[in-house]
């Protein structure tokens, strides 16, 4: 699966989508779900929580391991995807559809500084060596 060109990415394997109202939707990349394997538990941050960029704010657990999810930029959580409580495996089958949380960024310009699809792919490729 290629990384969608309309998303931004972090070196810690989150994807970020900017919605029309400026809200950010955040999930983990296909590469991340591939590394972790079958997902069995997701702990998302609660709405209202203030996040600092690169702060640990969610946990995804596969059968194999637990992994932290980091805030891509600073801001405030506006929603958590409660559907993942019952179907964490959606992250495996549809990583770019199964979002984990939404947030309002403190500064919209921070998002522009994140990686684009090409730069993120370079991060993935460098990890393979």
């Amino acid at each position: 699966m290629s990384n969608p060109g309309n998303l931004k990415y972090t070196a810690s394997h989150e994807w970020v989508k900017t919605e029309a109202d400026g809200t950010l939707t955040v999930g983990i990349t296909d590469h991340a779900q591939e590394l972790l394997g079958d997902m069995v538990f997701v702990e998302a941050p609660t709405a209202g929580r203030k996040l600092k960029a690169k702060e640990e704010c969610a946990v995804v657990e596969s059968v194999k391991a637990a992994a932290d999810v980091y805030a891509p930029v600073s801001g405030t959580v506006t929603a958590a995807n409660s559907e993942l409580d019952g179907t964490p495996e959606a992250i495996n089958s549809d990583p770019y559809g199964a979002w984990i949380f939404k947030m309002k960024p403190d500064n919209a310009a921070d998002v522009a500084a994140l990686l684009d699809a090409t730069a993120y792919q370079a991060v993935v490729d460098s990890e393979a060596h």
Partner: protein
Amino acid sequence: MPSLKQTPLNAAHRAMGAKMVDFGGWDMPVNYGSQIEEHHQVRNDCGMFDVSHMRVVDVKGEGARAFLRHLLANNVDKLTVPGKALYSTMLLENGGVIDDLIVYFMREDWFRIVVNAGTADNDLVWMKQQAAQHAPQLTIVDHPELAMIAVQGPNARTKVWEALPGSKELSEHLIPFSAVEMGSMFIARTGYTGEDGFEIMLPAKAAPFFWATLAEHGVKPIGLGARDTLRLEAGMNLYGHDMNERVGPLESGLAWTVDLKSPRDFIGKAALLAHPPTLKLVGLLLLDRGVLRDHQHVHSAHGEGEITSGSFSPTLEKSIALARVPNGVQIGDSVQVAVRDKMLAARVVKYPFARNGKGLV
């Protein structure tokens, strides 16, 4: 990076789309897609595992039984019928576990032992050292040239019989935990999943063909990921996690494999008798949402313990664990497990958690 060791089936795994990982220095398949699907495949039908990284060691010569009576914590005198197998630990003088293993009695001058991959070299040094001291007439021969394929699940034996002409006649009357030779192959009705099936040792050169033949008969490959969740559900210990050189068998749920009543002496016995255990291994079922993992702390009314093997149980669809806790903890007790910044509720339960296709908790 030192190059990883490969089994004779390495190319076959890659051709089947395996995700390969460094498993204690071996390049092994962790899954071929979905670990959970592979787990269910074994519980509900059957699957095959490459366990060629495990080591086969033969103890040969006159007095082999007497030597093993001294070397192993379980009593090889329980083995009276050729082909019969016994699970045992091999202990240090201080009672710590060097390894756990299966020993097969073939003839009075031939016992076959299968040990873990990661401990094999260490085991061999120990066994040869003990033999040199107590039974120099014996030869300890390891067989890195043997591959091993486990076929496990309710339909495993039937599939092996279909794939391997002549095997049914030889192996259909094998009782669980026993083995028979078939030419250069060694067929054992043993496993590490809590399901029926075989573990088959065969020359490395023959392994790819046999693996491919099993696949043609519809046997799906299963990675080491599912192997671990299957064994955990089956309540089987994993060396290095549930016991090690610092933790003995009595604190690891293995008292049933240690014979302390007979007058027989064995390495480690004096230490076990001198230090009655204060901790024990129990099963945990997580009641809150989350996943139990190795080394998480367990808080009970009787003091602290630690998870030795924790994961998600695909059969129960809940998280389960083996944990070492103070002796006072009883089945049915409620305990708390520290998971990141939270304390999660778990119940102490009997294990195995699942066997023969069914959840037991």
